[in-house]
Symmetry: C2
Subunit: 171 residues, 2 copies
Amino acid sequence: MAENGLGRSSPPGGESLLFLTDDQLRRGIEAMFFAYRGFTADPDRILAEHSYGRAHHRALHFVHRSPGTTVNNLLNILGVTKQSLNRVLRTLIEDGLVSSKVGVKDRRERHLYLTEAGKELEKVLSEAQRKRMRAAYREAGPEAVAGFRKVLLEIMDPEMRKHFDQLKDGM
Amino acid sequence: MAENGLGRSSPPGGESLLFLTDDQLRRGIEAMFFAYRGFTADPDRILAEHSYGRAHHRALHFVHRSPGTTVNNLLNILGVTKQSLNRVLRTLIEDGLVSSKVGVKDRRERHLYLTEAGKELEKVLSEAQRKRMRAAYREAGPEAVAGFRKVLLEIMDPEMRKHFDQLKDGM
DNA sequence: TTGGAAAGTCAACAAGGCTGACATAAACTT
DNA sequence: AAGTTTATGTCAGCCTTGTTGACTTTCCAA
């Protein structure tokens, strides 16, 4: 059986498992790396104009997605420390993009909402990002998109997958 | 025609373009975000044990991939400033993971190679990352993987796509 | 009612981006 | 030969965004 270019013979099972060779996996890893750069490029440019970073985008996105969410919930979704999130949140609140309301049931909690200005910036950011994704989806076609989504789901940590699925419910 | 949940009616063309709705695009964006976290999680853990970061991983990966590459070429691939790359490269060279050799044809250039120790760490990192990708690919199946790759290619900036394709040649 | 847990805030530090200025050596141009 | 460009490296300093530790306020349960 022919070598596959890495000095290892192909795995047993023949052609059907060629997509699992180390070469193919490495190509996938590199594709993920380069694609993620494109994925964030457009929002990054817009954020820079506002002196914000990706962390601000993420906060805006998920507050938009789950209005009234608590800081703690956001923490779990974003997977950063509360101190790190707090700094970003503080500037967004100071700048009037996010409003924070003390919880009614539990007054320790802060519920987060986008203000009109916050919704506006979120829209600009997400439209820029969607524009690229739309073009990519259109070029690749619906079946490729289905595969894309399927693989991404499998790459996620189970914990993150849970958050992803929970977001779905709120749609 | 039914609303799609965002207060916009579905695009003309009917069911066939449902994968291009803002909802679907937003889900794709979120999937990309959560998946990228999983994608980097395993290497990140290993890197932390060595007091390295993702920047070191990227350098190791691409030097491994293109042995003898120049600093300038690496700069273009990674898309960072030379100061930033230099800091990372310097520690890798000091730690004996990367070797830098003056060019023969053009003595201004430095050609970069992994040392044995460098190859070892790169292997540990890439095997951890491939392990997750292999599991994901296996779960998703070859057709999904093809779609995954196709969409990623389309998301890339043309400039990055060029680098990606050039790497292919070296395989 | 008191002590622990939870939510959030403040302070300080580190990694890794960035810009700008500058140095050196080698290659190229005129 | 002189001047310019290119490749690389370095220093200084800034910003964003991660981190840990210490602290306050609030809630709840023993």
